[in-house]
Amino acid sequence: MNSEILFFLLSGMIVIFSILTVTSRRILRAAVYLLFVLVSTAGLYFMLNYNFLAAVQLTVYAGGIIVLIIFSILLTSHISERAQMAGKFQGLMSALAVIAGATLTLITILNFSFPGKSGIESPSDVKAIGRALVSYNENGYALPFEVVSILLLAAMIGAIIVARKENLAVKNTKK
C-alpha cells in the first residue's frame, strides 16, 4: 500500500510540475518546477530499484543541467521578466494536437496487453553496472560507453567554441 501511495504522490508531482513548467510565465520558476519534475522522476527510478540510475539522474539532471539552465537564464534575462507566450490561436492549435496525440497514445497503451515477466532479475548494483559498462561481451556496453565519452568531449569543445566571445568570422572579415 505504501508503495502505491508513494507512486501516486510522485506521479502527481510529475504531472503537475510538468504542466507548471510549460505554462509558468516566470522562467526561473519554470526551471525550478522542472527540477521538481526531475527529482520526482529520480524517485520513480528508486521505486523501480534502479538506484544507480536514480543517483545519476539527480546528479546530472538536477545538479548539472538545471544549474546550467539557471545560469543561462540569469545571463540572458532579468529575474522579474515575464516570458512571452504564443498567441491564442497557436496555443489552441498546439493544445488540440497535444490532446489528440495524448489521447491516441493512452488508448493504445490501455488497449495493449503486455506480456508478463520473463527470466530472473539480474542484479543492478553499482558493481554489476560498472562491469557491464567496460565489458565487451554479449551484455557489455564498452562501445556505447566510448562513443558517449567522445560525444561528451566533442560537445564540450563545441560549446566552448560556439560560446566564445571573439567571433572567428568577424576576425576574418576584418582582415
Partner: protein, 638 residues
Amino acid sequence: MIDYTYTLLIPLIPFVVFLFTGLAGHKMKPMTSGLIGTTGLFAVTILSYLTAIRYFWTDHVEGAGYSSLKAFEIQWLHLTEKLTINLGVLLDPISVMMLVVVSTVSFMVHIYSLGYMKGDTGFARFYAFLSLFTFAMLGLVLATNIFQMYIFWELVGVSSFLLIGFYYEKPSAVAASKKAFIVTRFADLGFLIGILMLSFMTDTFDFQTLVSPTGPAMAQAGGAAFLGLSGITWALIFVFMGGAGKSAMFPLHIWLPDAMEGPTPVSALIHAATMVVAGVYLVARLFPVYSMVAPDALHVVAWVGGISSLFAAIIACTQTDIKRVLAYSTMSQIGYMMLALGVSGYGGHDGLGFMAGNFHLFTHAMFKALLFLGAGAIIHAVHSNDMRDMGGLRKYLPITHITFLIACLTIAGLPPLSGFFSKDEILVAAFHSNMPLFIIEFAVAGLTAFYMFRLYYSIFWGKDTHYHHTPHEAPATMTIPLLILAFGAVFSGFLPFHELVTSDGLPFEAHIEYAVAIPSVLIGILGIVIATLMYRKVSTSPAKLANGFGSFYTWAYHKFYMDEVYLFMTKKVIFNYISRPVAWFDRHIVDGFMNLIAHVIERSAYLIKGFQSGRIQQYGYVFVSGTIVLVIIFVYLW
C-alpha cells in the same frame, strides 16, 4: 625516293626566328634582331634554291615528268578514326616554285627593311612579324592537306593584319587592318565551308588523294545538283571564295588598297608578291579537281579574274597615291593569273593556261616587289605618297629610276623582259578558249602600260617640283635588293616554265604565237606612247581627257563607289534588316522565353515561400500533427 626531309627546316627557321626575336627582341639592339631575321631568311633562301635545283634538275629523271612527293608528314590531330589532321611538307612543281618566290622576295624585303625601317621604334617587332609571316606563308605553300593550308592561311591573315596595323598609332592604319582582317575572314568562311563540303564528299583532306585522277574527288563529277551545279562544284566555288578574298578579287577586293597603310616593304612582300597570290596558288593546287569535275567553277574563276583585272586597271588610271596605283595594278595582275587558270584545260598543251598563270605569278612577284620597293625608296626620299607632290625625281634617284623603269617596261609586256613571256602565254590561252575574256585582257594590257607609265612619268619626269630638302638616293641596303629584283624581272622570263610547271607534270611544247604576241606588244607600246604624250611634260591633256570621260572618270576615281556600296550594304541593309530583327528576336523571343520561365518559377516560389517561415515552432507543429495523423492512418485505419 630521294630524301627531302631537310625541307622541314624551311618553314621552321623563320618560326624559330619569330619566337626568338618576338620574345627577346626588346632586349637587344634593334639592328641585331634585324640581322638575325635576315640571316635566318638567307638560310631559308639557300635551302629553297637548293631544293628547287634538286627537284627540277639534279634529282630529276629525264623525261619522267614531275610528280608530287611528301618530304615529311606527321599526324597532328587524331579526332576520330576517319578524321585526322596531318602536318607535313609537300613538294611538287608549284610548291617548289612558290618556295623560290616566297623566299626570294622575303629575303629581299628583309634586306631592304634594314634600311627602310631604320630608326623606327618598332624595328624588332617588325622583324618578328616578318618572320611570322614568312613562316606562315611557307607553311601554306608546303601544306600536304587542305586543312593544314587553312591553318596557315589564317596565320598569314593574322600576320597581314599585324603588319598592316603596324603603325597602330595611326587610326587609318588600324581601320585598314581591321578591314583587311574582316573582309578576308569573311571570305575564309566560304573557304572553310568549301573545305568541309569537299572533305565530306571525298573523305579526305589530303591534296595528293584529292587531285589524283583516280581519287574520290573525281568520282563526284555528276553528284547531287543544287541550282544546276553539282555538289562538288559548289564546294569548289566556296573554296574559290576564300581564294578570292585573299587575292583581292572583285568584289572582295576592297581591303587591298587600304592595306597600303602598312609599311611599304610589307606591301611589297604581302600585298604584292606572296600572300595575295595565295588564292591563285590555292586554285592551282586543286586545279585537277577544278578542271576535271567542276568546269563550271573554273568558269567562275575565269570571269571573276577577268572582271577584276579590267575593273582594277580602270581604277588604277585615276588614282594619285602611288601605292594605291600599285595596289590596283596588283589586283589587275592577279586577275590575269586567275583568268589564266580559269581558261586552262588539263594536260599537255591544253594546260597552257595553268602554266601561264603560274609563270605570271612568278614574274609578277619579281617585278611587282621591285615596283613596291622602288616606290618605298621614292617615299623614303620625298616623304609623301601622292604623285602630285613628285616630279623630276630622275636626277636625284638614279638607281631607283632605272629599276623602276625596268619594272614598268616589264609589266607593260615588252619583249624580251619577263612580263612579255608570261602575259603573252595568258593571252594565248585566253585567245584559244574564250574570246570575250581575251578582248578584256587585251584591253587591260593597254591600260596597264598606260597607267604604269602615267605613274612613271609623274614621278620621274613632269613638273620640276621644288622639295623642302634635296631628295637623296636610298642607302645600299635598299638599292641592292632593287638591283637583284630588276635582274630577276629582266631574266626570269627565260625560265623554261612549260617544261617545269605544268598541269600534269609533263613538259609540253610552247612557242610564241605571233598572231597574239605582236598585237599585245603593240597595244602595250600604244599605252606607253599615250602616257608619254600626256605626262612626260606638264600639259592640260590629262585634265581634258578626264573631262572627256565625264562622270565615268569620277566613278573610277571614287573606285566605282565599292566602299560606299559595302558600307551601305553593311550599315543600312544588313544592320537594319538582318541584325536588328535578329537582335530583336534574341532580346524579346529567346530572352523573353527564359524570362518567362524565370518569372513563373519566381511567382510560384513566392506563393510557397510562406512554408519556409523560419519559425521553428511552426515546423514542430506540422511535424507533431503530421506524426499523429500518420499514426492514426497506419495503426488504426490501415
